[in-house]
Symmetry: C2
Subunit: 192 residues, 2 copies
Amino acid sequence: MRPRVYLAGPDVFLPTALVRAAALKGVCAGHGLHGVSPLDALDGEPASWAGLTEARAIALRNEAHMAGCAALIANLTPFRGPSADAGTVFEVGFMRALGRPVFGWSNSAEGFTERTRGFLGAAATRGADGAWVDGEGLLVEAFGLADNLMIEGAILASGGALFTAAVADGARWVELAAFERCVAAAARTLAG
Amino acid sequence: MRPRVYLAGPDVFLPTALVRAAALKGVCAGHGLHGVSPLDALDGEPASWAGLTEARAIALRNEAHMAGCAALIANLTPFRGPSADAGTVFEVGFMRALGRPVFGWSNSAEGFTERTRGFLGAAATRGADGAWVDGEGLLVEAFGLADNLMIEGAILASGGALFTAAVADGARWVELAAFERCVAAAARTLAG
């Protein structure tokens, strides 16, 4: 049986979400992995969930999908702000707490500090100690990482890895080179 | 011994982070809880962590703090985008996977859909089916929630609760009314 890997990411918000999920799963299959999409039906889903709101049922289903996977591969491409999609980051934390390897990929090669400064624009200023702060005085993280330190810290501590790629503006939700490297690394880890 | 609760939030980025942490802990103490700040030293921290980068040591320390707490209280006030701070969202997912109650509070009472549309501005348009999409065609979540569905779904499924308050623009990182309601609810849950 091929190891199951949960494919977290805002890809579910694409107009072509099902086609996209099939593409991601195809890459996984090429590396001997079974990709699980958040859009997949859940085997043995409790009948009682039919009484929940759609949002709550999706949340429980995604949690159950993760619990049934050996690893997580997260699309950490920045989403509506300097950081990754909130749902995806939640899932990184969830899988990390389960003690399973978390892999990340991003179609932004820019550092988190630079990306946050770009997002803040003129609101970003240097404090007296030289550190960058936003318009409300809150510090800009400056550890030379790809996103908030909890994310990269978890990925490395879990035995996973992070891959980034600089892609053309229109290719952020298309290009899969970083994803493929991520899948290959996950396959090696899960086979080892 | 007072139950320990982990105080997640971007409050750690405030210029007055230590004063802020003391204020949050004071509210917790008033409700019989021991508030644990991400800035706290970790009892028994492994000596080997001294060899890690500061970012990795902070990430492991926060994970250990969470593992030692009975519940999590997250400041979900929107941070540099329509969603909560990425580190905080990671921690919500982490504590949810540990099966412990997660509570959230936010100094924004605006819904996630409206907040995201406001963030996107003119880039937000209605697709053929009437749903809002961003400038790259990705769907805007529209479930009537306060943030991404994984966050609110986890809070409710964990036995926690979410409190929001509309506050004046300059009071986003000051006002603690929603936090106090959250702490009171956590205290009741942990006493029950």
